[in-house]
Amino acid sequence: MNTRREFLKTGGALVIGFSLSDELFGQQRGTPPGPDLRQIDTWIAIHSDNTATVYIGFCELGQGASTALPQIAAEELDLDMSQVKTVGLDTNVTPNQGGTFSSASVARGGPQIRTAAAEARFALLQLASKRLDTPLGRLTVAKGVVSVTGSPNRSVTYGELVGDKLFNVPFTGSAPVKPASEYKLLGTPVARRDMPAKVSGKHVYMQHVRVPGMMHARVVRPRGQGAYGDGAKVLSVDETSIRNIAGARVVRRGDLIGILAETEWDAVRAAQQLRVTWDMKPTLPGNDRLYDQMRAAETQDRVVLERGDVAGAADKAAHVVSLTGRGPYQAHALFGPSCAIADVRADSALIACSTSDVYGTRASLARVLEMPADKVRVQYYEGAGTYGHSCYDDAAQAAAILSQAIGKPVRLQFMRWDEHGWDNYGPAHVGEVRAAADSDGRIVAYEYHGWQHNWAVVETSAQLAFGTQPAERDGGAAQQVSPLNLGSMYDVPNLKLVNHRVPGLGYLKGGWLRSPLDLSFSFASEQAIDELAYRVGMDPYAFRQRNIKDARWLGVLDAVAKAAKWTTRRAASNLSKAKVVTGRGIGVGTHLASYGAAVAEIEVDKGTGRIRARHMYGAIDAGLAVNPGNIENQISGQLVQTVSRILKEEVTFNKTSVTSLDWNSYPILRFEECPEITPIVVQRLDERSTGAGEEVMAGAAAAIANAFFDATGVRMQEYPFTPGRVLAALKNN
């Protein structure tokens, strides 16, 4: 195989010596360096046929990064999309741009790729200037052909200048970047490049990868995890229980049990058949005691933001609203269970998996295998859309541990119950909000208290195999009360946000799930704002307009209201005695950047408690929308997933273990339940691109809750809005 490393040895075309600060390309914490980020060759190779390969460190997760990022490179290099290729992520080949999470591909990766492409173009123009004996200022480029302005016959192609040789040029830091007015590709809906292969069966998902000599593997675990702190202890393994499956054998490391077999079916059925007695402790709160236990926990408290005098202002205000919101654990529910292939030798390891962060996974695998990180190579293959930290690291570790144990390549795939039952769930949350407005409808005070635990550090495989002590991640903006998403979009003089960190070891294993905590935040917060509007006697959209000063928040709010043809009236002013009633609601919110707003139109059957979302509208302002068509697709997915999460999704568990282990026990939204969708991209060509993969979900969650109030006059305090919960809420009010 012609590796990037080999390519890099083949000699350079030109040498210019400069250096660039580390700032833009800060290395990931704790990971060893990959390819040098300040060398053009790390990012871009120009080929003799006048095409380019761009080396990108962000994964295609279904979000469109494999189109949007080459789009940025093509724009800055003055190439057509058809002239730009990419390669798969590989710690030996592609640069370390950090993990593909927090909707960062375009937001964080875009500027890096734009800079690299601009540096490459600058270097190419310098070469062309010499070759054509013409000053830089008189050169123009189109489709990789550099020509002299006014003399199109005097030209040279990129391929002729450096074709298949190295640049050997560090970044200058002075390469000019195109202004928005000159964009040809950016801001246009270039068709997704991965779709033709995905619809025809040519796309290689991780689940399709096979290597010679490999064994098929499955893990054997209790059905459903217990408390994160407890893990699971093996009391006994009865290997005679799989005696009838000659091709299968048990491989055990600590409490990690694997089944290995030549054929996949033997591994699958042996894993189901093997009799293992587990010691599982009844230390979980169970769904019924979850929120009370969190609320009563001894927490680590921190004031995240405070200004003015909330209590004083609320005491004097005409209207005060207090509201509690409770959001459940929710699962990534990865559609294709995690899969990995590991080939661990005595002195090196190659692991293919669907991690969102090849370098981060390399570091964790190096620890598990007790091998230096530079001996471990991780390659990325796309799996099903992960929507956060699902079980990809866990599966990669299990494959690596088993391969190390047997000295052969191992292909391991989780079963549905492994994925649903041993996920890093998006943590449950309790929010208590108090908001006050004066009689003119101005918000004068806002206070939010949030309770939740942090994300897990230790993967289940390591915990089981080596007894690694479970621990939780510290800090991190996305796992605590968010100043961006709570109150701050409003012009509120008195504001206080407090985070109550619950110790997480007695709970389920937590991790980041698309728009972490934001749905729960907005569910409580935006219902309180809505309730204030109601008490003041104002239309909820008009009330928000009155209280938002920021032009970009107003921009998305207005855009979504316009699309939904919002007409002015107070919420719950059309209450009907009919069995099936309708309502509409509005909400705003975001994740860590960008601006989101949504409108929901729903139908509530007061007899059955069933809710149908009829139409969802969502608007995002993510600065420069590199590929607005793809962002519309993202908004659409966010709205559908939010309806699913607010109406249906909840991880269930008793005192001992998780009990939602498949699509029947963890239902998600189906075709017949899917609302009509209207996505709106607010384009801001001159603003920095920020994330667009999760920022409309918070507002959409709140819009559904507010629509429920509009339809019924009742505030829901807990989601998902299952029929039982809806009927109970209607009965109590």
């Binding site: 069966g201 054929t263 079916w265 529910a333 559609f335 269970p337 929507y387 659409s636 699509w663």
Partner: protein, 169 residues
Amino acid sequence: MANEIKIRVNEQVRTVTAAPDTPLLYVLSSELNLQGPRFGCGLGQCGSCSVLVNGVEMRSCQTRVSAVEGKSVTTLEGLPAWYAAQNKLAKVPALHPVQQAMIDEQAVQCGYCFNGMIVKASELLSKTPQLTEAQIRSAMNGHLCRCGTYPRILKAVQRASQTMKGVTK
């Protein structure tokens, strides 16, 4: 015990060695290296492993390989040829109209569920070329999508239905 079993997949007769109770899915993906049908739940709940057996959509994770002996299995890869044969087209198109419509509507996100979505929609349109929105939703209801691409899939199926007008016999 493993037996030699002959199965017809995408109009080719293939001999595989497998225990008769092996789910068809594992034979298609692990023995024949087909990339259309894929493991999603192993429980017949999600639809990612769907194939056509004699033109009828079936969950290959719930179908024993021995049950398709003597029958014709069509996977995502074989849909264009299946469509051409059904409609006696002179030439096999590069893509089935449903596959093409998914691209035209830019419907895909991660795409993992699209095997089942496309197989199901192809079966549906082969039986009933003109469908109401409610009929499409109802027929597709057993196929789940985690990315939430249903709205665009719906449009794509409607588009394919238009394309197939006049072609389908």
